[in-house]
Structure formats: C-alpha cells, structure tokens
C-alpha cells in the first residue's frame, strides 16, 4: 500500500512538472502543436488529391501512422537523452541521484508522463485534422491500445539505453542527432521489407498498428503469435534497457560522472 502510494506520488509530481513546463513555455508548445497539426493536414490533403474521396490511400495512411510513432519515439527516446544532458550540466541530476526512489524510478515516472501527454496531444490533433479535412482513419481503439502500450514499453527500454549512454558519455549530442534517423528507420520501415527489424524495438508494434489502421485487422485476426512476439520484444527491450541504464549509473558513480561540470 505504502509502496503504491509513494510511486503514485512520484508519478504525480513528474506529471505535474511536465504539464507546468508545457504551460510555462506556451508559445513553444503552441508552435509545436501547430506544426504537428499542419503536417497532419498536409498528409490528409495528400489523400484527397491522390485517392478517390472517402477511400483512404494506403501509403498516405501508412505515412500518418509512421509519423505519429516517429514523433512519439523522438520525444520519449531522444527527449530523455537531451533532458539528462541538461540536468547533468545544470547539476539537478545529482539531486535526483540522492532521492531514495532511485533515478531509474524517477525517469520511469517522467517517461510515463511524457508518453501520456504526447499521445494525448497526438490523438487530439489527429481527430482535429480528420474533422477539418473530412477524412477518416480506421481507429479501432480496442485493438490499438494494447499494441500501443506494448510498443511504448520497448520504447521506454530504448530510452533507458540512451539515458545510460548520456550519463557516461559527455559528447552525446552529435550521436543523438544521428540517432533520430535510426529512430526514423525503426518507425518507417515495414517488417515485410526488412524482416530482421522484428528483433529491434518499436518496429513490430508499429507494423501491427499499420495492419489495424490500414488493412483494418482486428485483435482476433492479428492472432496470438503476433502478440507473443510483440510482448517478448517489449519485455526484452525494457529489461535490457533498464539493466544497461543501471550498469551505466554504477559506472558513473565510480568515475564521478553524474555531474558534467
């Protein structure tokens, strides 16, 4: 009971911090929302000009799904890297290190908060742009939500790997910039074209979501084996990610790297 309560408080504090920062930098937030909205609109407009009215062109629909996940992944994975970089330079990261909750738990709370906020914003914008363009996508929430959550778990795992690297490598910025493209590959390339990507995080989940949204597959049609692969992938990446992070943290504590100044 105590344990649940303290974790809930930890989550609430971090969720609050995220929302405060979104509000405090309102012009940034609005600019970001507007950009995403315009991109959605542009993609829907593409459907309009390419496909026949009412029937949605598959490639463009694919692109929309890809874009949503790419955006989410960048926020969660690279965002974590940049945030730790800032905190290590500022010195607040050491402060997190003195919390009896453990840094990894605080980072998890943040990831969850960011995941929820970003996903919520994307969904609202998606619906908003469907409304404005009069186009529609097949959004079967019952099927999508479990896939989405499992995909997020592998995303969190990847994010912890980046977090660990950021803690021990000072010049990570250049790497993070390049890593954006790796993340793009993981979200944009379909498994039918590169089957080995099933062993990588995120890709399998995005592939399944595309199957739902583009081909209209349901939970049953996707089948048990697909979910087994997705679940295994998510758990493996989460565990690898967390282990990597904790290893890097120990290393940083040996070498005195928690603060970058």
């Amino acid at each position: 009971m105590e344990w649940i309560k303290s974790n809930l408080n930890l989550f609430k504090a971090n969720f609050r911090k995220e929302t405060i920062e979104l509000r405090r930098y309102l012009p940034n937030t609005i600019a970001m929302l507007l950009t995403v909205y315009i991109i959605f609109m542009a993609m829907f407009a593409g459907i309009h000009s390419v496909g026949a009215p009412g029937t949605v062109d598959a490639t463009i629909q694919n692109t929309i799904v890809n874009y949503i996940f790419w955006y989410l992944t960048i926020t969660i994975v690279n965002g974590q890297g940049y945030e730790i970089l800032t905190e290590a330079t500022r010195g607040t990261f050491e402060q997190l290190g003195m919390s009896p909750s453990g840094i990894w738990r605080i980072l998890s709370a943040r990831l969850l908060a960011q995941g929820i906020l970003t996903a919520a914003m994307m969904i609202v914008l998606l619906y908003l742009s469907m409304l404005t363009t009069g186009q529609s996508l097949n959004v079967d929430f019952v099927t999508i939500i479990p896939i989405f959550l499992l995909t997020c778990i592998s995303m969190f795992g990847l994010s912890f790997i980046i977090a660990g690297l950021t803690v021990i490598v000072k010049q990570i910025q250049a790497f993070l910039q390049i890593f954006q493209f790796v993340l793009a590959a993981l979200t944009f390339v379909s498994l039918s074209r590169a089957p080995f990507l099933v062993f990588f995080p995120i890709t399998k989940g995005v592939d399944m979501i595309r199957a739902v949204m583009v081909e209209g597959l349901t939970l049953n049609e996707l089948g048990f084996s697909n979910f087994l692969v997705l679940t295994t992938n998510a758990l493996v990446y989460f565990i690898i990610g967390l282990a990597t992070y904790l290893y890097c943290e120990r290393y940083a504590m040996k070498k005195g790297l928690l603060a970058h100044y």
Binding site: R90, T92, E94, S99, P100, G102, L258
Partner: protein, 331 residues
C-alpha cells in the same frame, strides 16, 4: 546505536579524462558522527571535502572503505541509506530554474514519494522561516544567488531526514546573505534530532556553527576535535616573553635548535621572544637558556590564538600528528 554516520577508510582516486592523470582526492578518511552532532568539514580548496560528501550521499562510490548510515551500508543498500540523508551540494546547481520556488519544493518532495498535500504545511513553514514567502511564485532563475541557496537548503530540510549535509553553504554569497544563511544553519543545528555536516574552507563559518571540526587537507584527516579543544591545544603553547636585555648568540642558537616556531624581535629596547611549546613544561628549558646569560624577564604573555591561525598551522602541516612526531624525537 550511537553513531549515525560511520566512515571507515574511504579512498577515492579520480582519473582525468584527457591526460589520464590520477588525482588522489580522498586518502583513507575515517570518522564517526554521533546523532545530533554538528560537524564541520574544514579544509582548503581541493582538500577533498566535496568528494567526501558525495561519497556519503551515495553519488560517488569509494574505491575502498565503507560508509554506514544509521548502520546501513550505503553501497550495498544505497536507496535505503538515502532515506536517512539529504544534502545541498556546492553551488546553485541543485534547483530547477524553470520552476517556481514552491514548485521546486513540491517536486523534490514528490520525488521522495511524498504528496503535495502531505508537505503543504511544512512548505508554508519553510517559506516563512526562510523568508521566501513573497517569492513563492517566482521562477528560480529570477532569484538572487542567496535566495537560491536558501531555497536549496529548504528543499533539503523538507525531506525531513535525520542527517543533512551542506557543501560550502555560504560560498559565493554576499556578506549579508551569508550571514542570514549562517543564522538559518544555526537554527537548524539547534533543532533536535538533526545531525548536520557542513563543509567549508571558511573557518569563521565552521567556528560559528559547529561543535566539532574535522580538518582535512590533501585528502587526509589532519585533526578531528572539538573546536574548543583545538583552540586550547594551541593557545597553551604560544608564549611571548618580553626580555630586559638582548639574547646573546649562543642563546639564540640554542632556542632556534630547541623550539619550533620561534620569533625574535630584537630591534626594540625590550626585545620580544615568541615561542611555540610542544608541552607546557618546555617553558623550563627556555628559562634554562635565558639563565645562561642571566637575561632578565620582564613579562610572559600567553598568546591567544584565533581559530583561523590554528587552521592555518594545521593545514601548513604543523599538525597534532606532526607535533607528536617532533615530541618523540626530542625525548
């Protein structure tokens, strides 16, 4: 259990990233802190104070040695050990600059698993006590350095831990805020059940607040004593003797040979001789030398030594250990 903190033989060597040069920041440091004690870690810049504090906070692993916090090994059970301590590290680097004063307090409490509701009254209390109430909605990056420091201390206080560590709490503050922070620290020190460790290179701060001081230099503990006793120890040994006549060469030579830190001001009518004695009884040796030429003694003064001088002497290597060594040689 008597000691809340037991540091045994901790050592830390840093390796510079580029040059691979090794720096022994902490070299076999041991000390114990009793519950409710107010301890000063005093030492010049680069002595190893911050490194020691970070190891106690579990932010840095010692290369060897062990740290027990309330009996809990802070390496084996890091998070459990952390429930007993909070700290303010050096500089104003421990706050979120984009959050307000109040948001910082609440966020850090949340990270320890405590809800806003649960800390509400204590947050009010601390805002009043630290005179930050009228700044509670101000962003931290708009606060003065002194206010930031006060907030950082308030954040540490809010954690309500038995032990609180403060690394150079008055560094970089103007005189007035420095004074205010000191008063706050004294008030904290008076609170029951708080064990406080303050590091500083400024002996004034330590003398003002702490009961006991551990002086470290080049990564080693050079003394660990009550400030009162340290002062006594040195005070008793410093004598200034006003003479009726000048010393002759032989006398001067003998004094130079036998006494450590001697000063002879001969360019006045009544020459003054200042000596440091290893033991009080050594004064008789001095009298013997004076007697050789029947030099008249006009007055003997025991010099009052300021803590600052004690500190300088200790850091210069004239340690109590050093004194013991010389003592055994002269016997």
């Amino acid at each position: 259990m008597d000691s809340i903190i037991e540091v045994s033989g901790i050592t830390k060597v840093y390796q510079k990233r580029k040059t691979k040069e090794k720096i022994q920041a902490v070299d076999n440091i041991s000390f114990q802190v009793k519950r409710g004690e107010i301890i000063g870690l005093l030492g010049p810049n680069g002595a190893g104070k911050t490194t020691t504090i970070k190891m106690i906070c579990g932010l840095l692993k010692p290369d060897s040695g062990q740290i027990l916090i309330n009996g809990v090994d802070n390496e084996k059970h890091r998070l459990r050990a952390l429930t007993h301590i909070s700290a303010v590290l050096e500089g104003s680097r421990n706050l979120y600059w984009r959050l307000t004063v109040r948001e910082n307090l609440e966020y850090f409490a949340g990270n320890r698993g405590v809800s806003r509701k649960n800390v509400a009254s204590r947050v009010e209390d601390l805002l009043q006590k630290f005179r930050l109430k009228d700044k509670e909605t101000e962003l931290v990056n708009r606060l003065s350095r002194g206010m930031q420091q006060k907030l950082a201390i308030a954040v540490a206080m809010l954690a309500d831990t038995e032990v609180i560590l403060l690394d150079e709490p008055t560094l970089g503050l103007d005189i007035e805020t420095g004074y205010e922070v000191r008063e706050i620290l004294k008030a904290i020190a008076k609170e029951e059940n708080r064990t406080v460790i303050i590091s500083s290179h400024d002996m004034d701060v330590i003398q003002d607040i702490c009961e006991r001081t551990i002086i470290i230099n080049q990564g080693k503990v050079v003394t660990d004593d009550r400030i009162e006793d340290l002062l006594k120890l040195f005070e008793v040994r410093s004598y200034t003797i006003t003479l009726g006549e000048h010393l002759n060469e032989k006398q001067e030579h003998l004094i130079k040979e036998r006494f450590l830190d001697y000063q002879y001001e001969s360019n006045r009518i009544q020459p003054k001789l200042s000596v440091e004695l290893l033991k009080t009884e050594d004064i008789y040796q001095l009298f013997d030398i004076l007697k050789l030429n029947e030099t008249p003694v006009e007055a003997i003064d025991r010099e009052i030594i300021q803590f600052e001088q004690v500190f300088m002497k200790i850091v210069k290597g004239e340690t109590t250990n050093g004194v013991d060594q010389v003592k055994s040689q002269s016997v």
